[in-house]
């Protein structure tokens, strides 16, 4: 089996219409395909808070669930609440939660390619 290939015409059309006007130059990995497979927290991209996110999620599901799509801070925020309230996630300490949310919003934001 293989990882995702781009065959979805609809996605292609949406991309054409909605490419961000400004490409943000940042020294970070923005595509799942570029995360080194030998990275300790693969498939998460490196960044501050990566270990908190890794260990906070791995008890229940694989990290591909996290890297499949990039979302806004608001969506990640709601998703963390949903995990705790509806999915039995152990509630992280507030400071850990803040680190997790910062990581997700920064490194797996809307420009992320899963």
């Amino acid at each position: 089996m293989k990882t995702r290939v781009s065959t979805c015409g609809a996605a292609f059309a949406a991309l054409l219409l909605a490419l961000p006007a400004v490409a943000v130059a940042q020294d970070r990995i923005t595509r799942y395909a570029d995360v080194p497979q030998d990275f300790e927290f693969y498939p998460l991209p490196p960044g501050e808070g990566v270990d908190e996110v890794y260990y906070g999620c791995i008890a229940c599901h694989s990290l591909r669930t996290v890297t499949n799509g990039g979302y806004s801070r608001a969506v990640w925020d709601e998703l963390l609440d949903w995990m705790v309230e509806n999915q039995g996630m152990m509630e992280p300490e507030p400071d850990i939660r803040a680190v997790m949310l910062d990581y997700l919003a920064t490194y797996i934001g809307e420009d992320w390619e899963g």
């Binding site: 089996m1 293989k2 990882t3 995702r4 290939v5 065959t7 979805c8 015409g9 609809a10 996605a11 292609f12 059309a13 949406a14 991309l15 219409l17 909605a18 497979q37 693969y42 498939p43 270990d51 908190e52 890794y54 260990y55 906070g56 791995i58 008890a59 229940c60 599901h61 694989s62 990290l63 591909r64 669930t65 499949n68 799509g69 990039g70 979302y71 806004s72 608001a74 969506v75 998703l79 949903w82 509806n86 999915q87 039995g88 996630m89 152990m90 809307e110 899963g114």
Partner: protein, 435 residues
């Protein structure tokens, strides 16, 4: 197949004490045994589904054996090499478009959408199906009873994930980024749910069903269903809604619901509970996990992309919508300019059927009507085919557009954005090059 991210076992192997602190919040006592002030004991117990009587002696960094011994019967090798893996825990796998070419989808090309664990198969002898709630007589049926006491029906049925096509929405809603392959059309054999409900006797108060299964929630909490959806009684009494016991003439593979599952074709696949063990007949719309909030729900009115929609403005999805897939040529194929070749695919339409199929190879400027086969039975997808001649060498796209018997057709662009990204039925497109 992609490298899997590290599981609990590998995590423990690297740095066991850190692993259990991060996963369970456990801090061991000064002698590296027990649980310092109980930290982590409750969460480890929750995952194990029980308490740990000798917890004071439990060495630090010891992965509980119950987790270490988890055996997974399902192997990814059971699926075709061109299947696309979105996730391995939970298992979520879809077909590349060209794998949808079979009129009857074989096991190895049928998508998998799991919400919970891939369970260890329950034996037919142990399996029971309970019918309770708004019925005159509660039933508990064995596999043998399903085999011997009810009429069996066999037909082809399209099962499609409600989120098939989600990857096309912008902004991308959370959930598996399905492209077009979270659909299958296998041949299912089983007992009509209507026959079972008639035997139990529906009370006038019966309006909806809630389905339960023996797979486990990913958190390991035994009191938490992985997912529990259902459907209105009218859909459940449809003669094509069955408790399936065979897929393509054989026992249903574990990843598709062994030994028995609901098949409610034409509706979001989650109505078709795999590993089903209970049908709870309700006097109201079911409210199990997957029925409420934003899950499997659409806004009652159109919303702008990215809108935060209040839960009370959402309603449960009904039938899936008209759609088609191009299964030949394979995306990126090279063909001869000026020579005829066949493009073909499948088309389907939820509770309806497809009456017209059109394709375009000039970006929608002109459309040609394709040959369309009648469905062999209601709820099967339908074969379409067409011979085209690319007039000169260059880059082309085939676009496909189906129209159903209610006059609904596929939009050219992505239809109404919704918070969880359901019901994207935009025209499918495949590119090819003529040389």
């Amino acid at each position: 197949m992609p490298k899997k991210d590290r599981g609990l076992i590998e995590l423990y192997h690297d740095d066991p004490e850190r692993a259990e602190y991060m996963v369970f919040g456990r801090k061991a006592g000064p002698d590296r045994r027990g649980f310092l002030k109980g930290a982590g004991l409750a969460s480890m117990g929750a995952v194990l589904g029980t308490t740990i009587p000798f917890s004071a002696h439990m060495p630090a960094g010891l992965l509980p054996g119950a987790l270490a011994e988890t055996i997974n019967e399902f192997m990814f090798d059971a699926k075709h090499a061109d299947m696309i893996v979105h996730n391995d825990r939970p298992v979520n796998v879809e077909a590349a478009a060209h794998l949808l070419d079979d009129d009857i989808t074989p096991f190895d090309k049928h998508f998998i959408r799991n919400n919970g664990t891939m369970p260890m198969p329950m034996s037919k002898a142990d399996w029971r199906l309970k019918i309770d709630g708004e019925v005159n007589e509660e039933l508990e049926l064995s596999y043998d009873q399903l085999m011997n006491e009810f009429e069996h029906v066999t037909f082809r049925a399209q099962l499609e994930c409600g989120g098939n096509g989600r990857a096309g929405f912008n902004p991308l809603p959370r959930g598996n980024p399905w492209m077009i392959g979270a659909i299958g059309n296998s041949e299912w054999t089983g007992v009509r749910v209507s026959d079972i409900l008639r035997r139990a006797g529906l009370k006038p108060s019966a309006v909806y069903t809630g389905h339960y299964s023996y797979d486990e929630h990913l958190s390991g909490d035994p009191d938490r269903p992985s997912i529990s959806r259902g459907g209105p009684i009218d859909k459940m009494m449809d003669p094509h809604t069955i408790v399936a016991i065979k897929m393509n003439g054989q026992d249903i593979p574990i990843e598709h619901g062994y030994p028995a599952r609901i098949v409610a074709p034409g509706w979001a696949g989650s109505v078709s509970q795999k590993w089903v063990t209970r049908i709870w007949v309700r006097d109201r719309e079911h409210d199990g996990p997957g029925m409420t909030g934003l899950s499997y729900r659409m806004p009652r009115f159109p919303v702008a992309p990215g809108t935060e929609v209040a839960h009370e403005d959402m309603m449960v999805m009904g039938a899936m919508v008209v759609k088609s897939a191009i299964t030949n040529p394979v995306a990126g194929a090279e063909v001869r300019a000026g020579a005829p070749f066949e493009i073909r695919g499948q088309a389907w339409a939820g509770d309806n059927h497809v009456v017209r199929m059109e394709t375009s190879i000039d970006f929608g400027a002109t459309w040609q009507t394709a040959e369309l086969h009648a469905p062999p039975n209601r709820y099967s997808w339908q074969r379409w085919r067409q011979t085209i001649i690319p007039p000169q060498s260059g880059y082309y796209e085939v676009w496909s557009r189906a129209t159903d018997n209610q006059g609904n057709s596929q939009p050219m662009v992505v239809p109404g954005w919704n918070p969880r990204g359901y019901l994207n039925n935009a025209c499918h497109r495949i590119h090819f090059t003529a040389v």
